[in-house]
């Protein structure tokens, strides 16, 4: 088994940390962009880039309310994203067991 079997969308340091952090919340709960950025210590631009990639894969949804400085973005891990992380973790364990 090679690393190719790992989900390429999750298998990147920043995205792995984003998904793992959101998965620590109960199913359906959301986290604000600013809190997520604070926890992960990423720049806003970098975080947006990775969030977009995860959102395109259907692993999370983001919702923005308000405009300009008053805007507030929340991010929620989808059921699909949670399942993908579980599958990624399982594959990783199998890979490490075989190494």
């Amino acid at each position: 088994m090679s690393t190719d079997t790992l989900d390429a969308v999750i298998h990147a340091p920043a995205r792995l940390r984003i998904v793992a952090t959101l998965a620590a919340l109960p199913d359906g709960d959301s986290l604000s962009f600013t809190r997520l950025q604070d926890i992960l210590d990423l720049t806003p631009g970098n975080l947006i880039t990775h969030l977009r990639k995860l959102e395109d894969a259907g692993y999370l949804v983001s919702e923005t309310t308000g405009n300009g400085r008053a805007s507030h973005t929340t991010i929620t891990l989808t059921r699909q994203g949670r399942t993908a992380l579980d599958a990624y973790t399982k594959t990783l364990r199998e890979l490490l067991g075989g190494l």
Partner: protein
């Protein structure tokens, strides 16, 4: 931005190709542990603080009532000490809650708030019974000893027991069951002994709960079903 990680600034679909599986596993475990700490409403350190506060408060109540014949109740100094300890505990809990839930929203948090309100409401049960006992001229042994010592453990403990059972939160369930059992014991060991029994029970419960949930921080499991309830 100074001090922030700017890895993967130019991301591509294959930007994880250089990530070693061992490194990925380490990063995953570390992130889960950090996230659980961030969102936890009862981090181990707060349990240690609560344990110390409980020991101090209940020891003061027990020492001030030990050997009283007839029983008259805790001294004013002991009561003031307990009120200060409770105020400190509430302030610390509020701070921890605000930190853990900052930026978090959703159905689970709303449910947790309702459960928190129910638990907070159950705290008035014991003073109400105490007031009724006073109204019916029950002895000081009952009004200022057995009821205030054992009542909160049984009433609040039972409420938490129900919440823990509905959430399938095993550490919380075991802890609440121990508290209720300790409360029942406290009912039958005399007024001064009730304070001692209540203090020992709460201390063991708090420390035991910290020990049960500590393992989650040190050895996060691979699954993603860890909740803030821990």
């Amino acid at each position: 931005m100074q001090g922030t990680h700017d890895i993967d600034q130019t991301t591509t679909a294959n930007d994880g190709n250089g990530l070693d599986p061992r490194e990925a596993a380490r990063l995953l475990a570390e992130t889960k542990r950090d996230a659980q700490r961030q969102f936890s409403l009862s981090p181990p350190w707060i349990s240690a603080v609560m344990g110390a506060v409980i020991l101090l408060g209940y020891a003061a109540l027990w020492l001030s009532t030990r050997g009283q014949h007839p029983y008259s109740g805790p001294s004013a100094g002991a009561i003031v000490l307990v009120y200060v300890a409770v105020a400190v505990s509430i302030a610390v809990s509020v701070k921890v809650y605000q930190r853990a839930t900052a930026g978090v929203s959703g159905p689970a948090l709303r449910k947790q708030k309702v459960e928190g309100a129910a638990i907070a409401l159950s705290y008035i049960g014991s003073p109400l019974i105490q007031g009724a006992m006073y109204h019916y001229h029950a002895s000081h042994t009952i009004v200022y000893g057995v009821i205030p010592a054992a009542g909160p453990l049984i009433i609040v403990g039972t409420t938490v027991l129900g919440v823990a059972a509905s959430n399938g939160n095993r550490p919380q369930f075991i802890t609440a069951l121990a508290v209720v059992t300790g409360g029942i014991v406290a009912l039958f060991v005399g007024p001064s002994g009730a304070w001692l029994a209540a203090g020992i029970t709460l201390f063991i419960a708090v420390v035991g709960y910290a020990a049960m949930t500590r393992g989650r921080f040190l050895h996060p499991q691979g699954g993603t079903d860890e909740h803030r309830h821990a």
